[in-house]
Subunit: 407 residues, 2 copies
Amino acid sequence: MSRIVMKFGGTSVGNTERIRNVAKRVIGETAKGHEIVVVVSAMGKTTDELLRLAEDLSAEPSKREMDMLLSTGEQVTSALLTMSLQHMGQDAVSFTGWQAGIGTESVHRNARIEHIDTIRIEQALSAGKVIVIAGFQGLDAFGEITTLGRGGSDTTAVAIAASILADRCDIYTDVDGIYTSDPRYIEGARKLQELSYDEMLELANLGAGVLHPRAVEFAKNFCLPLSVRSSLSEETGTILLEEPTLEKNLIVRGVAFEPEIVRITIAYEVPFNGSLAKIFTMLARYHINVDIIVQSIMEGIQPSVSFSIKKEDFAETIHILKSNKADLGYQLANFEEGLAKVSIVGSGMVSNPGVAAQMFDRLRKEEIAVKMVSTSEIKVSVVIPEIDMLKATNALHDEFGLAVVRV
Amino acid sequence: MSRIVMKFGGTSVGNTERIRNVAKRVIGETAKGHEIVVVVSAMGKTTDELLRLAEDLSAEPSKREMDMLLSTGEQVTSALLTMSLQHMGQDAVSFTGWQAGIGTESVHRNARIEHIDTIRIEQALSAGKVIVIAGFQGLDAFGEITTLGRGGSDTTAVAIAASILADRCDIYTDVDGIYTSDPRYIEGARKLQELSYDEMLELANLGAGVLHPRAVEFAKNFCLPLSVRSSLSEETGTILLEEPTLEKNLIVRGVAFEPEIVRITIAYEVPFNGSLAKIFTMLARYHINVDIIVQSIMEGIQPSVSFSIKKEDFAETIHILKSNKADLGYQLANFEEGLAKVSIVGSGMVSNPGVAAQMFDRLRKEEIAVKMVSTSEIKVSVVIPEIDMLKATNALHDEFGLAVVRV
């Protein structure tokens, strides 16, 4: 007998027909003798509908009230799925986040789980019940309902799995696993059987939106096997582990891309160490997400710093720079729009020098200009013209042999 | 400065436009310097939609899960109204039933409030906030969400008002007060300025669906002035008090009617004291609501008991009687369908003998057959042919001078 946490996203529980299918799948697992805890998201468009109501009443609704509002969506799904399970003869009980013992920090709309009191879960499991927990939510120390922000239900599932020492956590979603690249755009992109937590973290941060980074971090910290699979098919998905044992030969496991990047360059007359901190502190205060930062100080060349941001933050960034020019003490700012970021990710890169060189070489052969570079132990990102984004991704996908299965 | 609890029903908060209007009305009261607690129902059709989802998944969903499901409706309204208030510059905070400290017995779908811990409400009032409480719900001693059944939000409002020693509780609804009779059917029915709790209790129990009896009882126990008024107009509604001071001359204050009544008569060979208890205990166990009971034991006539029930319970009642014939020990049962109940209600009846006689006399003049009679200190009910229901109501409304205002 294993303990398994199953998480179903909004599409998987989008209507009563799908909720019934989820119930059947859950019963399929209990029939194997497993103890099951289910975590659910709000039904399909529920959250959007609630957001629309809120927007209609207030241009900037308070975060506390948004949490009160939005947390109802998951509660509805948890009750409905429980009814469906009971109707099929499976003893079950639903819990809100606070009933499940999920304690968070005192922050609204983006709270972190601080602790989980598993007593009610353990009691219900002992009584042979399937537990259906409303994802995405918790309670702070002041008795306020909080929500966990984007990917919150994934985080709930992984945190619950870790706290009840589950054998694994299965994330059921509308894709059937993690791909080497986005199959909608990249020919030959294929599903990976396994992936390391770190690789997934890089891919998730690069916009492979299947799993929220926070959920992956949680799984990594507790060495919890995490699978991503489709709620519509019986196929095995992708399993996240500390160290994949399959497809070991793959040095690069994924190629990610992100359009709509803008590069901003600031130049100074004099060295600018203090000013540099000032700029990025200021941008952080305005929640501008700065990605790649490249500093260049060379003899005889004006000192400068370049950084990349998302296009959606462009106008605000320029405004912040302009209105604080005196304070920031820079001399010249220019920018380049129409850029994209392409990244290769793979744990094998650490022990295989030359991967970056191979990447640059291929891009050169494809005649793609590299504007910025950023590297980590398991990732190399380049900023290139947006027009070349898919060409570059396809080329790198091919270059690192991702389309062909070589076990 | 007064403390006022304002309760808004589902129609009054049916869409964002109406929620905005409610917010304006609340701010109108705070502008007068009052401390305000608002209690809200679920928006218009929300509950029906949730019920439909539940029905689609289970023919008989568990009551606990229904409470988990349905309690979200009021939570949504409370958050939305709070956002609207905040947007208009009024400091406000929403509470679920459990955040408002509402403790109930451990019963689902029809729980009674047992105690209210007002600490969070008092704190928020001290901080100058309007509090918006999700009606209809509470928490039992085991941490389970419960709901209060029909009229539950009224009960929440009155119970909160009593526990925070409010000066009054205003129930805003889609009618503008309590009428002498149903104005949709009875010509000349008019709004009452005042009504005693007891009169309202009789009227509520007789199907005047504006206020739930439980809420009225609560108000009566705490001598809490309770007003029923329209959320759409500025008109004063009807105020419920221990003893009305206006319209004192009215001996009868209301004429209520209820169609679809069935009379059942059971006859015995022998005296049946024990058996009588058995029948009504059994019917109660099956939740059959028995209304009027008439027993007749006369020399030389077969002992019998007649009682009235609602048509919707008819089939089940007959089934219970038939399948327990041996146990119940009766000899003969007959019934009469197509009946209705018409009642006159008024506190003044206690000190004015002859009111019942006046009622029977008028019905006789109208050639309406009286099948059963039931009296209390402030009410006389008759069961008559359903076909004569409105005719009787109109006649009695006229007979007791209800259509004419005599102050």
